[in-house]
Amino acid sequence: MQMRLISRIGEWFDRRLQLAAPIREAAEHPVPRNTASWWYVFGSAALIVFLLQFVTGILLAFVYVPSAGEAWSSLQALNHEISLGWFIRAMHGWGSNFMVAIVLIHMMQVFLFGAYKFPRELTWILGVFLLLMTLGMAFSGQVLRFDQDAYWGLGIGASIASRVPIIGPAIVKLMLGGPIIAGATLSRFFALHVFVIPGMLIGFVALHLLMVLKLGINEWPMPGRIVRRSTYLAEYHALTKTDGAPFAPYAIWKDLFFAACILLAVAACALYFGPFGPGGKPDPTIIQTVPKPDYFFLWLYALLSLLPPSLETPALLIGPVLGIIGLLLLPFLSGEGEKSWRRRPIAVLTVLMIAIILGTFTHLAEYTPWSPQMNAWSGAPVPKRFLHGTTALERQGALVFQEKQCRNCHSLEGIGGQRGPSLDSVAVRLTQDQLIRQVIQGGGNMPAYGNNLNPAETTALVAFLETLHPARQAAARDASRDVILSVRQ
């Protein structure tokens, strides 16, 4: 009786909506049997995390205040005052990390499986835009967590944008909504994060999915099965006929299981690690801060530290453009041919190389060896063994060494900055004259201290530096000195 009522209500709606047939057709469309693989679940996982972001984002917007004066305290209220506010924030934050990761994995899988080739070029191109939008969401989301990192991160964004020839300063003002980072900046990033990019994302995701349905899921790549524009469509059609199965339920159950696992994983991270920040108050007069971007932009942070100054502006402005053009052109440059990664060594190497580069830069950015350690000079004393049995002058030199903050960039026994070389055995590398020259004139990325040290301080400092050599290894000496001295004698 009840079932009949439900089905009658369903029929009443469907007579008007007429959606049941197309939905059933889409769900049951035949897919090649071997695509029912755990490798094919990342697209749907990206979609489910997007939906999670959508829901948690709306919930956060119930409380969040997009005003530079109040955003930070509204986040604090979410964290501490509103029931489960911290959990929704944590889910949204972790959801963002998962989304970027899943989108990248999905893209890598599509690339290695040759799924971007004919006739799925446009699906790939839409996917490239979806990746850019996902990164746009990640960056604008970091701005909405309006803390010190967000504030100075905007400054970095503005500084990069300002380097565009001619229109740079105008772009900065457009981006910031004024001459400085202020209320207008947060408001427009709120509009971008909540209206503009999500609106575009919904449209692009819909098109992306539509194309997957229209063109069929990419078949499992077989080495030797070559894609040709003239024959591919007929071959694919024949494959779904001879070795096909309806997407639902044959393949979809894996998508469903994986989606649920991903949601659970996001929730588990949210529960265990909690929400991200907010960090310190976005007050520009507090300059005791070490701004750092979120995880997925750490590689960029490292790159910006390591690029030679002369390369930086061209690399920043031209690099991304070339990268995006390359991704967009990929399906046209290799739209046919082998799909299997087994026959595409360059594709595999490219993925590995990009992964290693991004991984290395991210790892470097986690401990920032290029930054001076601002409190090493006052926090880490000179190890005792370097002072044992030294003369008064050498100990005075150790004092100069600490006081002039050499420690901020140079380590002793592994403690101190890593900006410059470790000085544990500097005396082996440099002679007295070279030490004096290096201290006074700087060079090789070291500032010159000539104006900041008087001759007595320099003498003491160099005397101390000359003691820095292993016990059984003599300090470097200028051999010509011995010659001159022996001639004099």
């Binding site: 944008a161 001076p372 901020n408 900041n452």
Partner: protein, 182 residues
């Protein structure tokens, strides 16, 4: 035949309708565009810069570099603390000053002054500057940004209002100023 005339008549109306919408859209695009670009055009028309006081000269002892804060001349109700800005004031001697932006000339992070080593150091990418603001080491391509200043009745003021950014002047080749420190 009459059908054809009706069709072309309707067709013409449709085209006129499209044209009409196009005209309205163009007309509306002007205010929409001007609204969108107002942060650029406003700066161009009046300029964002104006003189703001940093305080009495006595706050900045000769030969030292001190942090000063000022309020941005343009304040909107939703700005909160973001309009309070810091800068480094170096009192050379007499009425000679240098006022530096805290923003690193590399990518805008806040630089800190260390009187002990006589350096400004940036926590982000490792830029360092000498006491006169010139580049010492690291990725910056130039010295620190300097505000114009004036001293009147023992009050020091600077011309501020825009966040300094490297801009297109961050040339493709590094330019280093010679160290002029005393």
């Amino acid at each position: 035949m009459p059908n054809d005339t009706t069709l072309s008549r309707r067709g013409m109306f449709m085209k006129l309708g499209i044209l009409f919408n196009g005209l309205v859209a163009t007309a509306l695009a002007v205010p929409l565009g001007r609204f969108l670009l107002s942060s650029i055009t406003r700066g161009r028309a009046n300029g964002y810069l104006s003189w703001v006081p940093l305080g009495s000269v006595e706050k900045f002892p000769e030969g030292e570099t001190r942090l000063a804060t000022f309020r941005n001349p343009l304040v909107m109700p939703t700005d909160g603390k973001t309009v309070d800005t810091a800068c480094w004031v170096r009192h050379i001697e007499g009425e000679q000053f240098q006022v530096f932006a805290v923003n690193c000339a590399h990518l805008g992070c806040p630089v800190r002054w260390f009187p002990q080593s006589g350096l400004f150091m940036c926590p982000c990418h490792g830029g360092a500057y000498y006491r006169d603001g010139s580049r010492a080491s690291g990725p910056p391509e130039r010295g620190l940004f300097e505000y114009s200043y004036k001293v009147h009745n023992d009050l020091i003021s600077i011309q501020a209002g825009e966040m300094p950014t490297p801009g297109p002047t961050a040339s493709l080749t590094p330019k280093e100023r010679p160290c002029k420190c005393a």
